[in-house]
């Protein structure tokens, strides 16, 4: 196992190099840089050139790539031009706001998906099952930004039950419980949308996996022993049905820390996705590149985790 993990980690290196070259090449295709994007009229040509020299923007792309990649290899992502802070620090400041939404929607969607998936497998072809199937398709097809807008329109503007956007009420100095309630109200809709989007495919996953398990002999044995139906389904069947789903856990990793760019924009949520979107607009290369690589690393590690988890959960799988 240890050997397997080490080999996989080593295999990541060429992939990461490929990604970094690709991402850097794409971003250096962008005409203009941070200085032109800022476009302040008071700046003279000399001042601009001076600033470019400071930021290292005057060097040829290939040289810039090696400086950047070299720094990154030792864990230095550079300084964000816009925030005047190390990229890692900016990520650390905003990523937790995104994490809150992603984490809760993850938990809710898993709970909902397990229950509806199991029940619709148990009562296959029933009315309930058909409704679930239809809802699943609806959830899988939702354009997140449109549903977000629709919910804001209904619940925030028309009914006035929830705030329109942001993370806290502007000017609010509430602490403790008051702060908690404030954030809760603001996060309700984004979490709802994110949960809706991810529940669809998860439910489907659990349903098929449960359908496979339920037809096996040991389930018949469990019933023949006279076990209660609830025990059969939730203890005997569900455990095995959950097994393949463990791999999904790893894939959730980038979603947890990656931020939901579009949703955060719609809900004006101060998460990492919004900061990232802004960094593209103002040509804050160090942040833009650094965060893209951060996401890629998360994806690769997530894949590794899901493979390892699968091997750990299912002794029939040998990792080599």
């Amino acid at each position: 196992m240890k050997q397997y993990i080490i080999r996989r980690l080593l295999q990541m290196i060429p992939t990461l190099i490929g990604i970094s070259i690709l991402v850097f090449a794409i971003s250096s295709m962008v005409p203009g840089d941070y200085i032109t994007a800022k476009n302040s009229p008071s700046m003279t040509a000399e001042k601009k050139a001076e600033l470019r020299a400071i930021y290292g923007l005057d060097k040829p792309p290939v040289e810039r790539y090696f400086t950047w990649a070299g720094n990154m290899a030792v864990g230095n992502l550079g300084d964000s031009l816009q925030h005047k802070q190390p990229v890692t620090k900016v990520i650390n400041t905003y990523v937790w706001n995104s994490f809150i939404i992603a984490f809760f929607s993850l938990i809710f969607s898993w709970i909902i998906a397990v229950f509806t998936g199991v029940l619709s497998a148990k009562f296959q072809y029933s009315f309930f099952d058909k409704m679930v199937t239809l809802l699943v398709f609806l959830c899988m097809s939702l354009p997140s930004f449109f549903i977000g807008l629709l919910l804001i329109k209904v619940f925030a503007l028309e009914l006035g039950w929830l705030p329109i956007g942001g993370m806290t009420t502007a000017g609010s100095k509430a602490t403790g419980w008051g702060y908690f309630v404030d954030v809760l109200e603001h996060s309700f809709l984004p979490i709802l949308v994110l949960t809706m989007i991810s529940t669809g495919s998860l439910t489907r996953y659990f349903r098929t996996s449960m359908l496979e398990v339920i037809r096996q002999d040991y389930i018949r044995t469990a019933r023949a022993k006279g076990l209660k139906e609830r025990t059969v389904i939730f203890k005997h069947a569900l455990r095995n049905a959950m097994l393949p789903a463990i791999t999904l856990m790893g894939f959730e990793l980038p979603a947890l820390f990656g931020g939901a760019i579009i949703l955060e924009k719609v809900f004006v949520w101060p998460g990492i996705g919004q900061v990232y979107l802004e960094s593209i607009t103002v040509r804050d290369y160090p942040f833009m590149l650094g965060f893209t690589i951060f996401l890629a690393v998360l994806t690769l590690i997530g894949n590794l985790i899901s493979d390892v988890l699968y091997g750990a959960a299912d002794p029939r799988i040998r990792l080599k």
Binding site: G18, V30, S141, F145, F146, L149, K153, L157, I261
Partner: protein, 308 residues
């Protein structure tokens, strides 16, 4: 009596003598899936609405009437109202649908072309070609798609690409970024197919590699390609609309469902003029649901083993 019975008997015997072709079986399985058929009907209606609909519209997008017709609410003349330039929203909705559907279709076609070819090459030649192609696929798979799309969109904006041409670039970008899924599937299939007996026959016949791959191996992967392509179109439509909503996909004056929703960014339009942004959103939703239903029906019909 006997005269009538005879042809009936023959009819019942025919299927036994001549087994149905796999395609006919697939079609029968598909039509038995009620949700999939409903999806297909909805999609056909939607396509007709967008493609044929504009011809029945009495309005023209180039006819501005900012003075008299600005921001009208839905009424008998303008069923979905008008926008801030006095253009008919219904007409824009139909024209936007053409663009959105076209972007989805072409982007997927590009993905399939690249993905199926590379996947087939990797599966057929194995060894070196396989390693190289699948490594590249790994890189593409670990790329965060949406951020890359946004960066590419920003590049298009910076290069001042004309809105007319921008649509083509968008198709290309979406297509190129999406080839890995199909490549992996096709490669997997070809790896098993190439070991089968009919491939030994092609070997014995001395066929060229090109012929082996494109005439004998690829046709066997068509079911997988069809299913993935269908679901891919749905994904591409969503991606396009999201990008256009962010203002870096299809940009005005070319209408697309995504960029029509951008009018929700202005608080007044968002609040008081829902006819500007709710219909395009519903169109996206309905189209994508329909395509997903069809894709699922096709999966059941073409390859029951694939169901996961």
């Amino acid at each position: 009596m006997s005269l009538e019975a005879a042809p009936l008997d023959m009819k019942t015997q025919v299927p036994a003598k001549q087994p149905d072709s796999p395609w006919r079986i697939a079609i029968r399985r598909f039509t038995r899936n009620r949700l999939a058929v409903i999806g297909l009907l909805i999609l056909v209606v939607m396509v007709l609405f967008c493609v044929v609909g504009p011809w029945f519209s009495p309005y023209d997008l180039l006819e501005y009437d900012v003075k008299n017709k600005k921001n009208l609410a839905p009424n008998a003349e303008h069923w979905l109202g008008t926008d801030k330039l006095g253009r008919d929203t219904l007409l824009r909705l139909m024209l936007a649908g053409r663009i959105s559907l076209l972007v989805g279709l072409v982007a997927t076609a590009i993905s399939i072309l690249i993905g199926a070819t590379l996947g087939a090459l990797a599966g057929f030649y194995r060894r070196f070609a396989d390693t190289i192609i699948m490594r590249i696929a790994d890189v593409f798979m670990a790329l965060p798609t949406l951020p890359i799309l946004i960066i590419m969109g920003a590049i298009l904006s910076d290069l001042k690409v004309e809105p007319k041409h921008r649509v083509y670039f968008l198709m290309l970008i979406l297509g190129v970024l999406g080839w890995t899924t199909i490549a992996r599937l096709v490669r997997g299939q070809i790896l098993t197919l190439r070991e089968q007996e009919f491939m030994q026959a092609t070997e014995a016949l001395g066929l060229r590699d090109r012929r082996k791959i494109f005439r004998h191996l690829m046709p066997n992967t068509i079911p997988i390609i069809i299913v993935t392509a269908t679901l891919g179109v749905a994904g591409a439509i969503i991606a396009e609309s999201a990008l256009s909503f962010l203002g870096i996909g299809v940009v005005p004056p070319t209408p697309s469902w995504g960029n029509m929703i951008t009018s929700a960014n202005s608080l007044i339009d968002f609040r008081r003029r829902p006819w500007l942004w709710i219909p395009p959103g519903m169109c996206i939703l309905i189209t994508v649901v329909a395509i997903n239903l069809i894709g699922d029906g096709l999966r059941d019909a073409l390859d029951p083993k694939m169901k996961k």
